[in-house]
Amino acid sequence: MPTPVEGNNITSPDGMTGAHVAHAQFKTRINHTDLLTLDMAFPAKSEASGVPAGRYPAVVFLQDEGVSPSSYAWLIDHVAAWGFFVATPHHVRDTARFAPDDAAYVVDFFNSPPMGLLQGNVDGTEVTLMGHGDGGRIGAKVLGDRPYARFAMLGALPDPGDRARLAAFANPWHDFLGTADCKILAADVIGALGAEHVTTLEGVTHEQFAAGGGSSPCSAMPADDATARDLIQRNLKAFMKDLPVEAASQPDAGDTADTGDAQLGADAADAPPIVPDAGDASPSQASDSSLPDAGDASPPDAASDGGAP
């Protein structure tokens, strides 16, 4: 069982998206003597957020090779705003394949809440595994290590040896690929996984799942970052909400900057102090000040759904 060492509230008043999303950072003990840093994003305890307090399902996010977790802040804030606890482990050298056990450690962390810090607020039995690029490839390898509720790949091509594991995975799984992704070609993924498990996003590059920017040498018309992010979050949200996901997705005409979340753009400054230093915190302190009221659990699906496709 991973054991926490400490946690800090790192909520930024502005936030990456301005969403009512709170952030925390934990350090948890892994491999007996190492520490794993976990970035957490979750719905803030705020009526304005539109997300009711309750017991939220969780997401473990695995970043692409060498990409800092902070590069995904925009996407992670969106997912959290939909009513999920999102944990992003800091892998060794920001590379998931150096530490494939990290995902399982995070699930164990959710299921064995440290000193009551997360108890009643995270549903450790409903954890979605999500990974971008190499993180998605590693996700396909570790999919059987814990009972994941969903598996979402973003611009990822699983290794051939892992495709049987994917086929045997009984819960929903899907791959979202940009048509301007020069690193992972959509045609290759469709050929490997089948079209029913793949959604292509028009003009989206590999990098736009993360911080974005750059160009796409294999596409004459890559989407701008705002358009790409809109496409990504709209389709990913449909998958996370168990709504139908189309095989191909194009930008909405004249609405390229739609965030898809009614609560986004609001001020997150009213997020409560989240996690006192867990090394010193008593369970009562932690559960009282850190997270939404566990006694008022409501299905997270009641979250604002303004961006559902």
């Binding site: 069982m1 491999n31 003597t33 520490l35 840093t37 800091h90 060794v92 494939p100 056990d101």
Partner: protein, 211 residues
Amino acid sequence: MTSLRRSWAGLIVMAAASWAASSLRVPVACASPSDVVGRAAEQSTATLHYGQGFYAPTYGLGLEMAVAPQRSAAVDWELSPASGVLTPRASYHVQLTAPRLVTVAATFGVTMALVYRGPLNAGFGPRVGLGVAIGREWLRLDLGAQAGGELFVHEIGPRAPVRAVSTLRTSVAGFTAGVTVRAGYDFELDRYTLPRFEALAFIGTSAFDER
């Protein structure tokens, strides 16, 4: 005992001077007489912090003593403040061949890991090593391999670290300095193999040796 007292005196001096020190010796370390060594290490675990833009060093203090011809014993303590782990070790070194340009040696030892940051934990286990020293005292290259097993109070393990070790060291006028690189894997049941890399510099002295 005179030698022991003098050597411990050396330890105190170095600790007071806040030296980063340790005697996590490579398997052929017994070629030296008793000495006090130091190091500032960049532990493999520190790479966990790479994405945050910094490395977390470890610090240690150590002592090695000749206990018989071609035999020596060593103890050391290594501290990783960032990880909150204190690692005491004890080793017994045996030269398997007479000291020449090429010398073969073996190491037997035990390792503890005391986790003090967060919930307390402790681990313990044996380790062995085999190595070859090439060169003379003033300039020597040590090449070796180490393996061990560790059991922990929480999540028993066992964890089996396996490492290749390389050290380049020089000794002049009773002082020793060198650089060690260790690389390998940790093996553990129901876990993926975990790559480890460690680079460290050490400095020591045999000035307190009575010979």
